[in-house]
Symmetry: C2
Subunit: 86 residues, 2 copies
């Protein structure tokens, strides 16, 4: 069974987000005055092959997030795991 | 009415993704042999204030994506727009 994983990471509340601040400033300077706040994180799509159980795939994703994909000290992450057709 | 927008951007198919390649190599070297492919993009959360109609908010988001948040030549984006409570 193959799996498609979509992962979003975001800085935790209270952690300074200079990239978000820069994007907000950029949007304001383009005239988007209604923009109140901007947070910038990462988005990843990963294809995982040949794992039969969803629980095993999910455990692997958790593990990968903690070890490499996100920095658990300053970032929070969430993911969506879907079986691939065919 | 205030709105919360969640935006994901990703390189279009066929555009070289060196960051995704690096993450894939990293995961393989940690022993995650089942990883088949990795794409890395951006994830953004934006709060927009004081727009009454969803269509207007949506149009504004489209506009911001094209002008600043994504590079429409090489990136595709999708977003989710939700009314904020309270």
């Amino acid at each position: 069974m193959d799996w498609e994983v979509k992962i979003e990471t975001k800085l935790k509340d209270g952690i300074l987000d200079p990239q978000g601040k820069a994007v907000k400033t950029g949007l304001k300077s383009l005239g988007y005055e209604n923009v109140d706040s901007v947070f910038v994180g990462k988005y990843m799509e990963i294809i995982i092959k040949d794992i039969s159980k969803k629980e095993d795939a999910s455990e692997m994703v958790e593990d990968m997030c903690k070890k490499l994909l996100a920095n658990p000290v300053i970032e929070e992450y969430k993911y969506e795991l879907n079986k691939m057709e065919g």
